[in-house]
C-alpha cells in the first residue's frame, strides 16, 4: 500500500511535470497565431540644418552627422536642361559631365586619380532645373576635396577630346536606355505634357548631341556656373565655422554672375485625354504611363497629395497593384508617383501589363481614379497610408548620401522648413476629407496616356475609348496619327 502511494505520487509528479513542460509550448501556439501589436511610433529627431552664404552668393547648408569618418557633399547648380537653348538639347548634360574632365593643371585622368586617392566618388545627375553633383570622401581629406571641387566648378578646361569622350558616353547611355520601355515611355509622357514649356528640353534624345560644340559648353558654363546660382550641402563630422572658413578659402575667388534665373511659368495641365503609342514589335509586355500636370511641391496641398498617392499606388499594397496584379492578374506591376519640379509636379501612373489587356488595364486604372475623386477614401486606408509614410521617412535619410540628397532636393525645390521639420505633423493632420477635397480638383481624368507594346495586339484596343492615337518612335519622334473609324 505504501509502495502504491509512492508510485501514485511519482505518477502525479510526472504528469504535473509534463503539463508544466508543455505549458509554454501550448501558450506559444496561441501567441504565434496573430501578429504582435506594434509599440507606438518613436519620436524622430532630425538633424538641424544650418545655413550661411559667402559674399559672392554661394549658399552653404550644413547637416551635422558624426558617426563615420566620411563627408558627403551635394552641389546644386541651377543649370538644368531647361536652360539649354532650344537648338542645343543636351547642352546642360554635357556641361555637367565635363566639369570633372580637366582643370587648368590637372588632366581628366589626374582628377580621377585625385578623387580616388581621397577615397572619393564624384558623379553628376541632370534635372530640368538644376544639375546635382555628389561628392563623398574620407574626412581627413576635406581640404583636398574642397580644393579639387572648387577648381572643377571655377576653372574647368573643357578640352575637345574630353568633350567628345563625354558626348560618346552620354550617347551610348541614351542608346542603351532605348531598350528600356520604362525610360522611353516616361520620356514621351513628359515630352507630351511639357509641350511649349522649357521643361520639355529635358526629354532630349541622342540625335542632337552631335551639334553641341566646345564653345557652346564654355558659354553655358560661364552663364550658369556661378556662386550665386549654386548651393552646397555638407554632411559629416563638421564644425559649422570650419566649413565657412574653408569654403571661403577655396570659393571666394569664384566670380558672381548675372542672376537670370527667374522662376519658370507653371505649365498648363492637359485638358483632354490624349493617347500616344510607341510600337515595340514582338514585345512580351505592354508598358503604360499616364499622367498630368498638377501643383508644385510648395503648394500647401502637397501633404494630402502625398497621402493620396500612397493610397492609390505608392507600394505593392496600394490599390493599383492589388487591383491590376493581384485581383485582375493583368499586370506585372502597377504604381503611381509624383515627380516634383519647381513650377509644377507631374502625377503619373505606370503599369507593365499583358499586351492583350491594355484597354482593360487602362479602364481599371480609371476605375481606381474614380474611387478617389468621386468618393472619400475610408479612414482606415488613409491611416494605413500615413503609417507607411511616417515609418518610411527615416529610412530615406539613413545614409550620408540619402540625407544630403533629401536636403538638396528640398533646397533645390525651394521648400519651406516645415517640409523638413514638420513632415510628420503635416502627414498626421491629413484625413479623408482633405484628400477628397484635393482629389476632386486634380486633372486625373484627362491624362496623357503613353503605351509601348506590340502594335498588332495593342493598337486596336484604343478604339474602345478614343478616336485617334498619335504614333511615335522610341526616340520620341512623331510618326503620324492613327484614326479609328
Amino acid at each position: 500500500m505504501k509502495v502504491k502511494n509512492r508510485q501514485a505520487i511519482i505518477l502525479i509528479f510526472f504528469l504535473l511535470s509534463q503539463i508544466a513542460l508543455n505549458l509554454p509550448l501550448l501558450s506559444q501556439e496561441r501567441f504565434r497565431r496573430t501578429p504582435p501589436i506594434p509599440e507606438p511610433f518613436p519620436t524622430l529627431q532630425l538633424p538641424e540644418i544650418q545655413q550661411t552664404s559667402l559674399y559672392n552668393g554661394l549658399t552653404l547648408w550644413v547637416v551635422p552627422k558624426n558617426d563615420l569618418p566620411i563627408i558627403s557633399l551635394k552641389i546644386i547648380v541651377f543649370a538644368g536642361e531647361s536652360f539649354s537653348p532650344e537648338n542645343l538639347p543636351g547642352l546642360a548634360t554635357l556641361t555637367a559631365h565635363s566639369i570633372s574632365r580637366g582643370v587648368s593643371d590637372f588632366s581628366s585622368s589626374e582628377i580621377e586619380e585625385k578623387i580616388e586617392f581621397i577615397g572619393g566618388d564624384f558623379s553628376a545627375e541632370i534635372y530640368p532645373e538644376y544639375s546635382l553633383f555628389s561628392f563623398t570622401f574620407l574626412e581627413e581629406y576635406f581640404d583636398e576635396a574642397l580644393n579639387l571641387l572648387s577648381r572643377m566648378l571655377i576653372e574647368p578646361t573643357f578640352i575637345r577630346r574630353e568633350i567628345d569622350s563625354v558626348r560618346t558616353a552620354v550617347y551610348y547611355d541614351l542608346l542603351e536606355k532605348n531598350s528600356d520601355p520604362d525610360f522611353f515611355v516616361k520620356r514621351l509622357l513628359l515630352q507630351a505634357l511639357f509641350t511649349n514649356h522649357a521643361y520639355k528640353k529635358s526629354t532630349f534624345n541622342e540625335d542632337g548631341l552631335r551639334n553641341i560644340t566646345q564653345k557652346d559648353i564654355v558659354s553655358f558654363f560661364d552663364n550658369h556656373y556661378r556662386p550665386n546660382n549654386t548651393h552646397i550641402v555638407f554632411a559629416g563630422n563638421l564644425n559649422f565655422n570650419t566649413i565657412f572658413r574653408e569654403a571661403r578659402r577655396f570659393f571666394n575667388r569664384w566670380q558672381r554672375g548675372e542672376s537670370n534665373h527667374s522662376a519658370l511659368p507653371s505649365p498648363e495641365p492637359q485638358e483632354e485625354m490624349k493617347v500616344c503609342f510607341i510600337e515595340t514589335p514582338g514585345a512580351k509586355d505592354a508598358t503604360i504611363y499616364m499622367g498630368n500636370i498638377i501643383m508644385p511641391a510648395t503648394n500647401p496641398n502637397i501633404f494630402p497629395l502625398i497621402v493620396m498617392n500612397q493610397v492609390l499606388g505608392g507600394t505593392p499594397n496600394s490599390r493599383l497593384f492589388m487591383n491590376l496584379r493581384e485581383s485582375k492578374q493583368y499586370a506585372y506591376n502597377a504604381f503611381s508617383e509624383i515627380e516634383f519640379f519647381k513650377s509644377c509636379s507631374v502625377f503619373s501612373i505606370h503599369a507593365r501589363v499583358r499586351p492583350e489587356v491594355v484597354e482593360s488595364s487602362i479602364m481599371e486604372i480609371f476605375n481606381d481614379i474614380n474611387l478617389i475623386t468621386d468618393k472619400k477614401i475610408p479612414s482606415f486606408d488613409i491611416e494605413q497610408a500615413k503609417s507607411y509614410l511616417i515609418g518610411n521617412f527615416p529610412l530615406q535619410i539613413e545614409t550620408y548620401d540619402d540625407l544630403t540628397s533629401k536636403v538638396a532636393e528640398h533646397k533645390a525645390l525651394g521648400l519651406e522648413d516645415e517640409h523638413w521639420n514638420k513632415y510628420y505633423e503635416n502627414i498626421m493632420l491629413i484625413n479623408s476629407e482633405k484628400v477628397f477635397e484635393l482629389a476632386k480638383k486634380l486633372p486625373l481624368k484627362t491624362p496623357v496616356i503613353v503605351v509601348a507594346g506590340d502594335g498588332n495586339i495593342v493598337l486596336n484596343q484604343f478604339g474602345a475609348f478614343i478616336k485617334e492615337v498619335d504614333i511615335y518612335n522610341k526616340k520620341g519622334i512623331y510618326l503620324g496619327t492613327y484614326k479609328f473609324d
Binding site: S17, P35, P36, F41, I70, N317, P394
Partner: protein, 448 residues
C-alpha cells in the same frame, strides 16, 4: 528505499522548478564595445546565434536572418533548391498567410529583401523600430513551420524557370560564366550555379523541398542580427519568446572541400550563340580567406580592378582601348576563393592582345615595387569601402551576420582594417608570385 524515493522526488521537484526557470537560459552575452560600433552576442539553447547592436540615431531597426545554406549544399540532380527555398519563404507559413510577410513590411513603411549565394541565404528587413516584434514573429514562423505544398512549390518553380530564360536572353555570356565556374572550382558543389539547372528544377519534388528545409533552415544553422534603435532587454525577451522553442535540427556536416587543384593551367573555349562580341574569362585559385595572404590579395584586387584609375582599367580601357567590358574581383564561396576577370573585346585579335596586357600587368606587380603614392591611393579606396560597411543599420547587420557565418567568430573590424593598412610593397610582390603563376584557368568565349 525511502531515502532513494525522497531523493528522486526531490530531483523531480527540482527538475520541475528548472523547467519553469531554465527554459529561457541562454549562454551569457559576449559584449564588444570597440570601433566601429558595439555589439553583443548570445547563443540560445537551440543553437541560434544572436547578435545585437544598438544605434539610436534614427527610429529604424534592421533585422537579418541568415542561414548557412546555399548551392554548395545541393546534391547532383537537385540543384536550385536553395534559391527555390528563398522564394518559398515569402509564400506563407503556419500562422502567416501567403504574401502577408511582404504586406506587413510594406504597410509599415519598411523594406525587405533576400539573397542566396553559394554558401548562405540571407533574409533582411529595414523597418521602423516599433515593428521589431512583428518581424521576429514573421521570421520565427517561417523558420518553424513554412508552408510547403504542391501549389507553392509549383508556382516558385515556374517563376524561377521564367527567370532563367529571361536571364539567358538578357545576358548572352551567362552560360559561359557557369561553365567557367565549373572549371575554376573543379567541383560540383562549389561550381554549379545558384539558380540551378532547368531540368533539375522541373524534377524537384515537394518532398525534396521539405527535406532540404528541415535539414538546413533550423536555429542551429542560423544567425539573427539586429541593429538599430531598440531596447535590448525587450528584444531579447521577444527573441526568446519566438525562437527558443523552435527545436534544433540535426548537426550539419561540412561540405567536402574540392581537392587541391593540380598545378596546371586550363584553357578551354565555349560558343556563345547570342553574343555579339568575343571575350574570355580568366581565373586564379587563391588561399582561404583565413590566410594572412588574403589581406594582401584584397589590396591587389584594388590595384588591378577597383576604380577608374586601377591598372587594368587604365591600360585596357583608356590607354590601349582593348575592351568593351571589364569586370572582376575576388569571389568567396565558403573557404574557397578565386580571382575572376571577365572581358568582352571587339574581335579575336583584341582578345589575344588583352590577355597579353593582363599577364603583363601581373608580371609588373611581381617585378616592380608599387609606388607609395599608388599604394596609399588603393588603401584609401579600400578604407572608404570598408567604412561603408558600417554606414547604416542594414549594412552593419549584414556585416555582423556574414562575418559570423564566414568564420563562426566575429573579428574586430578595427584590427582587421589595421592589417590591410599595414601591407607593404614587398608583401604585394611576394603574394603575386605565390598566386599568379601560370596556373590560370581561361575560358575563351567565341561568337558564331
Amino acid at each position: 528505499m525511502n531515502e532513494v524515493l525522497n531523493f528522486k522526488t526531490k530531483l523531480l521537484i527540482l527538475c520541475l522548478i528548472l523547467s519553469f526557470l531554465g527554459g529561457s537560459v541562454h549562454v551569457p552575452a559576449q559584449e564588444k564595445k570597440d570601433f566601429p560600433f558595439p555589439y553583443t552576442q548570445y547563443k540560445f539553447n537551440n543553437g541560434l546565434h544572436v547578435i545585437l547592436s544598438e544605434d539610436y540615431s534614427l527610429p529604424i531597426v534592421s533585422v537579418v536572418m541568415a542561414y548557412r545554406v546555399g548551392s554548395i549544399n545541393e546534391e547532383p540532380g537537385k540543384t536550385g533548391l536553395a534559391y527555390l527555398m528563398e522564394n518559398l519563404m515569402f509564400l506563407g507559413s503556419e500562422n502567416v498567410e501567403r504574401m502577408q510577410h511582404i504586406s506587413i513590411i510594406h504597410k509599415v513603411g519598411g523594406e525587405f529583401n533576400a539573397a542566396t549565394s553559394e554558401d548562405r541565404t540571407i533574409f533582411y528587413q529595414r523597418i521602423p523600430s516599433n515593428q521589431l516584434t512583428q518581424v521576429l514573429w514573421l521570421e520565427s514562423d517561417r523558420m518553424k513551420s513554412l508552408q510547403i505544398d504542391e501549389s507553392n512549390v509549383k508556382q516558385v518553380k515556374l517563376d524561377i524557370l521564367e527567370e532563367i530564360s529571361l536571364r539567358k536572353a538578357r545576358d548572352p555570356y551567362l552560360e559561359s560564366s557557369w561553365r567557367f565556374d565549373r572549371l575554376l572550382y573543379g567541383n560540383f558543389a562549389f561550381g554549379h550555379p545558384v539558380i540551378g539547372s532547368e531540368d533539375d528544377l522541373r524534377n524537384l519534388t515537394v518532398q525534396d523541398v521539405k527535406d532540404f528545409y528541415n535539414r538546413f533552415y533550423i536555429p542551429n544553422n542560423a544567425v539573427l542580427s539586429i541593429v538599430g534603435n531598440f531596447d535590448r532587454k525587450k528584444a531579447l525577451a521577444d527573441i526568446q519568446k519566438y525562437f527558443e522553442t523552435i527545436p534544433p535540427g540535426e548537426p550539419i556536416p561540412p561540405v567536402p572541400l574540392p581537392k587541391s587543384p593540380e598545378k596546371k593551367s586550363i584553357v578551354e573555349s565555349i560558343q556563345a550563340p547570342l553574343a555579339q562580341s568575343p571575350g574570355f574569362h580568366l581565373g586564379y585559385r587563391l588561399p582561404s580567406p583565413a590566410s594572412e595572404d588574403f589581406y594582401v590579395l584584397s589590396i591587389i584586387e584594388y590595384i588591378l580592378l577597383r576604380g577608374m584609375s586601377s591598372r587594368l582599367h587604365k591600360r585596357l580601357f583608356k590607354r590601349e582601348k582593348l575592351v568593351l567590358e571589364l569586370n572582376g574581383g575576388i569571389e568567396k564561396r565558403q573557404d574557397q576563393t578565386r580571382l575572376k576577370i571577365f572581358v568582352v573585346n571587339n574581335n579575336q585579335y583584341m582578345v589575344q592582345r588583352c590577355k597579353k596586357a593582363i599577364f603583363s600587368e601581373l608580371h609588373k606587380l611581381k617585378t616592380n615595387f608599387i609606388s607609395e603614392e599608388e599604394l596609399n591611393k588603393v588603401k584609401n579606396m579600400f578604407r572608404k569601402d570598408y567604412i561603408n560597411q558600417y554606414t547604416t543599420s542594414l549594412p552593419k547587420a549584414l556585416f555582423l551576420a556574414e562575418s559570423f557565418l564566414s568564420r563562426n567568430i566575429l573579428l574586430n573590424p578595427a584590427e582587421e582594417l589595421e592589417k590591410y593598412m599595414a601591407i607593404t610593397p614587398k608583401d604585394i610582390i611576394g603574394v603575386t608570385y605565390r598566386y599568379f603563376g601560370v596556373e590560370s584557368v581561361i575560358l575563351d568565349v567565341k561568337t558564331k
